[in-house]
Every structure is written in structure tokens, then in C-alpha cells.
């Protein structure tokens, strides 16, 4: 299997606080990889470091064999790594359709962009109904769908999802995770960060456990779901 993403001993700091203490992980082509951990473990920082929003203090990030450790965020997006930031990462005052159009900011093929918008609407029919509403008027689940749809508009090779289940009703979470699996089946590799460990491990191929800035476990998701430590600490049972 080809490596899409490889982090080697990556450190990241916020001022004097070490948020990442040398994490190493890989994502292979066609995989869903879950990064689970408690609040403040450094999950979001890991994603932000990959997408260039936070600069790595030490270590190396390789994307398809190219060193992107020092690349600025806007170039990383152009390379094909697209992040769906935490929370409702949409532009609330802009219309739904405008959010999707801006998602295709880096592309210059207007005809194909139109087709892709239709494709997003097929995947999320509710967004089509709300196309001309300001995105801020959408429900939480719809906003998360829009955020994912917007990321898809950039045609990602690797999709980074930051807590897609945050603040959503269980049924909606299920729907979102089904969609994540579908997106993956269409050929996009996915790195998903989650507090909802059970859900994330169910849909992913492999998983890592992050604790206070360090990776303490890494295994296939099936094995992690049966791991005693994981069950005690994250699955509650």
C-alpha cells in the first residue's frame, strides 16, 4: 500500500505549552485512520499541524513522499489535503451555495465545479433545498454536512476531519459517518479525529490513541475496539 501521509516525531507548541510531543503516524492510500483521545490530548493540534495552520516545531511531515512540514496552509490545500475544521466550520453569513463555491476556490474549471456542486447536492439532498439560505440558518447536522460538502469541492486526496460528530444527535452522527465511509469508498483517504471513539473505530481501518500529546497505542481498529485499555478509557465499558 502506498503511503499518503507520514508524520515522524512531530512536535508542536503553543507558546511554552507542548501540545504534541513527537507523534508519528501514517495514513495509507484508501484508508480511514482514526485518531482518538480525550479533550486536550492534542488531536486538533495534530490536524492543524498537518494542514499548516500550526507550524511544527520539530519533526517531519511527508505527503506522498514530499516534505510539507514548512509549507503554508494555502499550498497544502492545493496539494490535495483538505481539512474540515472543528465545530461548524462554515461561513454563516454566506449562502449555502456560496460556501460550496468558495470550497472550490483553488480550482479553475467552472463547468466541472458546477457538476461537483450537483454531486454534493446528490449526496446531501437537504443542502439543495437550502441552497440559497444563509448557512447560519442551517441546523447543526446540516452545517456539518455543508462543511464536509465544501471540503469535497476542493477534490481532496486526503480529507482531515476534526470531530465531525461534535454536538450532533446520535442519528445524525450515524448519517455523517455513513457519508464519511462513502466518501472513502470513492477513493479519498481520510484521517478523522474523534472523541466519539466507538463510532470512529467502527468505520476506520486503523486507529491511534493520543494522550497528552503522545501516541500511546496504534493498531487496527478492530483490535483497538477489543483492547482492554481502550475499552476502559474511551469506550466506557
Amino acid at each position: 500500500m502506498k503511503r499518503v501521509l507520514e508524520l515522524t516525531e512531530v512536535y508542536a507548541n503553543y507558546g511554552h505549552i507542548q501540545a504534541l510531543k513527537g507523534i508519528s503516524l501514517t495514513v495509507n492510500e484508501g484508508e480511514i485512520v482514526a485518531l482518538i483521545g480525550a479533550n486536550g490530548a492534542g488531536k486538533s493540534t495534530a490536524l492543524n499541524t498537518i494542514s499548516g495552520i500550526v507550524r511544527a516545531a520539530k519533526g517531519k511531515i511527508l505527503y506522498k513522499g514530499n516534505d510539507i512540514t514548512k509549507s503554508p496552509a494555502h499550498l497544502i490545500v492545493r496539494g490535495g489535503i483538505v481539512q474540515v475544521p472543528e465545530g461548524r466550520a462554515i461561513l454563516k453569513t454566506l449562502k449555502v451555495i456560496e460556501n460550496l463555491e468558495l470550497g472550490a476556490f483553488i480550482r479553475k474549471d467552472p463547468l466541472q465545479i458546477k457538476k461537483d456542486i450537483e454531486e454534493v447536492f446528490d449526496r446531501f439532498p437537504i443542502l439543495k433545498k437550502r441552497a440559497n439560505q444563509p448557512a447560519g440558518t442551517l441546523s447543526g447536522g446540516e452545517q456539518q454536512m455543508l462543511a464536509i460538502g465544501r471540503a469535497l469541492m476542493a477534490r481532496p486526496k486526503l480529507l482531515l476531519l476534526d470531530e465531525p460528530s461534535m454536538g450532533l444527535a446520535p442519528l445524525v452522527v450515524k448519517e455523517i459517518f455513513n457519508i464519511i465511509q462513502e466518501i472513502n469508498k470513492n477513493g479519498t483517504s481520510i484521517l478523522v479525529v474523534e472523541q466519539n471513539a466507538r463510532m470512529a473505530l467502527k468505520i476506520s481501518h486503523r486507529g491511534y490513541v493520543l494522550e497528552t500529546g503522545s501516541i500511546v497505542l496504534g493498531d487496527s481498529s478492530a483490535d483497538l475496539l477489543n483492547n482492554k485499555k481502550v475499552i476502559e478509557a474511551y469506550l466506557g465499558g
Partner: protein, 301 residues
């Protein structure tokens, strides 16, 4: 202007003539303040709080005044130069400072403003603390109408343009904008530079009707005034800053009969607006209230 002065035919022309003679500076100033309000609106539109616009206005004013006074440059040319000069400065200081945001950017631009003011005070070409005396009176009403018209047209076109959307995206969430592939600093520098250009042109127009310019007109107080125009008017649309600047420029004149209390009343009105219309004069709440009033009177019938 001459046409008005000669008109002594009937009472109406007399009235207009005397009104114009009393208030032409005020009307000119309303236009200049309108431009300044627009100059800060574009940086606010992408969420950046810049307090450097008074300094940019000053650079524009001195540049264009010196060009017309010392080089006899045509007015149009010196106005354009008055815009380009601060724009060039904005480009240079924008690249490092616009990596900052929020309070830090405000502090940096405030510091920049002080540097510019002190430079005006100490350079011999700017006349030091005495300023420049005898700037030729070249600005006419139609110049102001034309220039502000161009700026307003630009902002209306901006609203639905790609650049406009990008600024709005940055304003709402810089992280989201950057993961969309938007080079945020690049567009922020552009907005900052355009704002400096507008402020510079406003400064040039202002210098050519006030006859006299000095460093203190471009210091801290005017920088805050410009910000107040935008905040009071509302920053959601371009009409907000324009409304804010018009109100804030006219109010002190309207209250002149109150003598020493006029500034107090002025402050009171500001306070009321901020209390009851926290999003500015031109905002959704205002339209809602107006609707309510109309609907209310409809019920009475």
C-alpha cells in the same frame, strides 16, 4: 461657486448662496469623511482593525499638496500620487504587520501612525510643526462627488465579486478560509493597501480646500474618529460607514446653538446609538424597528 455668488435675483438664490457660503466647508468635509469611513470599511470587511488610516490620509495630503505647491503638478495627477504613496507604504508595512491580528494589529498600526506624525513634525519638507501653509484651493464639489462616486461603485461591485467573497470568508473565519486554500495574508494586504489608497486620495482632496495642513490633523484622534464613523454607522454594508461619517460630521454643527454643551450632547447621542443599535445605524435591527413603527401605525387605522 462663482455662479452662486453673483446670484442676487430672488430670495431663494440668496438663501442658497448664504447657506453655501456658511456651510461649504462642512459639506466638503462630509465627503472627505465619507471616503475615510470607506477606507477603514474595507479592512474591517476582512476582520482587520487598522488604526493607520489617519496616517495614510496624512501621507496622501502632504504628497499631493507638495506636488501642487512645489512642482506645479496638475491637480488630478497630484491626487493620484496622493493615493499611490500611502498605498506603497501600506504594502511595505502590511506584509509584516498583517500576520498579526486583532488587538496586535491595532497596536502596530497605531504605532505606525505615531511614527508618521513625528516624521511630519521633524522633516523640513513638510514644514515641521507649522505644517504647510497656502495649499492652492483646487478642490471643487464635483471632484468630491465624482471621487466618492467611483469609490462607492467599486464597493458595490466588490460585494458580489470573488475578492469580496474572499474578504468575507476571512472576516468570518480565518482558519476556514485558509483551509479552503485562500492565502489570507495576501488578501488582507490587498485590502489594507486599497484602504490606504482611498485614505490618501481623501487626504489630497482635503488638503486642497483647507488651505493649511499640519501634523496634528493626522494623529491619534482622527484615527479614532475614522474608526468611530464605521462603528457608529455599522460595518455590515458600505452604507453604514457613510451614514456614520455623515452623522458624526453634521451633529456638532447642528448643536452649535448649545454652545459649550454641544460636545456633551454629541457624546450622549453616540452613547444612545451604541446602547440601542449595537450593530450601527445601518443594520438589520434598524430596519426591523422602522418596519415595526410602520406596522404599528397601520394597526391604529
Amino acid at each position: 461657486m462663482e455662479k452662486f455668488q453673483r446670484g442676487k435675483g430672488n430670495g431663494l438664490t440668496d438663501l442658497i448662496t448664504s447657506f453655501w457660503q456658511t456651510y461649504n466647508t462642512l459639506i466638503y468635509t462630509i465627503f472627505v469623511h465619507g471616503m475615510l469611513a470607506l477606507s477603514i470599511y474595507i479592512t474591517l470587511a476582512c476582520g482587520q482593525l487598522s488604526l493607520g488610516n489617519a496616517a495614510f490620509m496624512g501621507i496622501g495630503a502632504y504628497t499631493s499638496a507638495l506636488l501642487t505647491m512645489k512642482m506645479n503638478a496638475p491637480f488630478g495627477l497630484s491626487l493620484i500620487a496622493g493615493g499611490m504613496m500611502p498605498a506603497a507604504v501600506a504594502l511595505i508595512i502590511g506584509i509584516p504587520t498583517l500576520r498579526l491580528s486583532g488587538v496586535y494589529l491595532a497596536m502596530a498600526t497605531l504605532g505606525f501612525g505615531e511614527v508618521v506624525r513625528v516624521a511630519f513634525l521633524n522633516m523640513s519638507i513638510t514644514g515641521g510643526s507649522l505644517g504647510l501653509n497656502g495649499v492652492p484651493l483646487k478642490t471643487e464639489l464635483w471632484h468630491l462627488v465624482l471621487v466618492i462616486g467611483i469609490f462607492i461603485y467599486f464597493f458595490i461591485r466588490l460585494r458580489d465579486s470573488r475578492f469580496g467573497r474572499i474578504l468575507e470568508a476571512i472576516n468570518e473565519d480565518e482558519v476556514v478560509a485558509s483551509v479552503m486554500g485562500i492565502k489570507t495574508t495576501y488578501f488582507k494586504v490587498w485590502a489594507f493597501t486599497i484602504g490606504a489608497f482611498i485614505a490618501g486620495v481623501a487626504g489630497g482632496l482635503n488638503a486642497h480646500f483647507t488651505f493649511f495642513i499640519s501634523p496634528r490633523e493626522y494623529g491619534f484622534e482622527p484615527a479614532v474618529d475614522i474608526l468611530t464613523f464605521a462603528i457608529l454607522g455599522g460595518t455590515r454594508t458600505l452604507w453604514g460607514p457613510l451614514a456614520g461619517s455623515t452623522v458624526l460630521t453634521t451633529l456638532p454643527e447642528l448643536f452649535r446653538f448649545l454652545g459649550p454643551y454641544r460636545l456633551a450632547v454629541n457624546g450622549l447621542i453616540l452613547l444612545l446609538v451604541v446602547l440601542y443599535l449595537p450593530n450601527g445605524i445601518v443594520s438589520k435591527e434598524t430596519f426591523k424597528n422602522i418596519k415595526k413603527i410602520f406596522n404599528g401605525s397601520g394597526c391604529l387605522n
